[in-house]
Amino acid sequence: MIRVLIVDDHPVVREGLARLLARAGLTPVGEAASGEEGIRLARELQPDVVLWDLAMPGGGLPAIGKLKTAVPGVRVLVLTALDDPLLSREMARAGADGFLGKTCTPEELTRAVRACAQGIPFFPCLPELSPREERVLDLLAQGLSNRAIAERLGISVKTVESYLENLKRKLGCASTAELRARALRRA
């Protein structure tokens, strides 16, 4: 039996999740409407998996870290209305065990919960970036220009540009401006 705690500030979403989980043979054990309430209830109920809405009050990435500390061993599957793959990396760093957009199908949701319950990371949108690409992205997120990035890494501007092309392709950005904007936003 996989016990799941649902944490989301929209009652209609909580209702939908509870029904979908139950239908899939999973066991919803409780509901909370904020990060704070979620952490409190998780301590009390000791669920296997917590479904965690990113956009709710108190739902930000730091709160995920708090939850993992408060309930050792709990798996956190982050749900969000935003589908940005860049966010995925941040979530993994913040301690999330999985990430799913709310446009996911009931089957995907079930698969994600079961994977997380077994300790298998579920990040379907996590782009494969090389360490250098990660570094370039971090510097972009700090607002550095191509030239500044080149200087910082001791490479040519042309090389930086080719890294940017790769990043745009992997992250599905239509332009360098979009890549920059998305990097800045999540910083």
């Binding site: 500030d9 929209h10 009652p11 209609v12 979403v13 909580r14 209702e15 939908g16 999740l17 029904r19 979908l20 749900l79 209305a81 709310k102 446009t103 996911c104 199908t105 009931p106 949701l109």
Partner: protein
């Protein structure tokens, strides 16, 4: 009365939750869609009494979908659902012919009650009320603008409202300031666009 509904939201989780809430209001969900174009096809096919539509849809917006449903299939009531309580969106929803504008954050009991009322024929959105919240014209200002939209001169309006021409001009000037317009023509056009006044009836002859 057996009420059938179509649910439109790009989040399957939300569609599932709405299905549960609607059934509590005695409404059966007979169709679903994840975007506006698919929704139009489904609504045309199943001819429900009610469509519950998320404001934020990919492609065709929820409000535009509402507008199209209300225009082509006026027997279908549309309830819009949103994450945000934005006065400007409520006003747009009212103009698009929605029967209600509900929030995803509302308690289930509230949502069920609102849907129940819509199903019984009540309209929970009023164009004028919503328009006033966005740009509050006083009732007097609205009266004056309405009469101007009907082609009346200041002297006529003064007589109709039993006010002095100076007062009428003051109300008109105040309305123009609030709406940021600089001519009478603009005033009428803007007021009509915002749903602050009704299109004057054209009587025969």
């Amino acid at each position: 009365m057996h009420v059938r509904a179509v649910v439109v939201d790009d989040h399957p989780v939300v569609r599932e939750g709405l299905r549960a809430l609607l059934s509590e209001a005695g409404v059966e969900v007979v169709g679903e869609a994840a975007d506006g174009r698919a929704a139009l096809a489904v609504v045309r096919e199943v001819r429900p009494e009610l469509a519950v539509v998320d404001v934020a849809l990919p492609g065709l917006s929820g409000i535009e979908l509402c507008r199209r449903i209300r225009r082509r299939l006026p027997q279908v009531q549309v309830v819009l659902i949103s994450m945000f309580d934005e006065p400007a969106w409520r006003a747009e929803a009212a103009r698009a012919g929605a029967a209600a504008y509900l929030l995803k954050g509302m308690a289930p009991a509230e949502l069920v009650e609102a849907i129940d009322r819509v199903v019984k024929g009540e309209r929970l959105l009023s164009e004028e009320e919503e328009a006033d919240k966005v740009l509050p014209l006083t009732p007097r200002e609205r009266e004056v603008v309405q009469l101007i939209a009907q082609g009346k001169k200041v002297s006529d309006i003064a007589r109709i409202l039993s006010r002095s021409p100076a007062t009428v001009r003051a109300h008109k000037a105040s309305a123009m300031r609030k709406l940021s317009v600089h001519s009478t023509a603009e005033l009428v056009r803007t007021a009509l666009e915002l749903g602050l006044v009704r299109v004057p009836e054209v009587t025969g002859g």
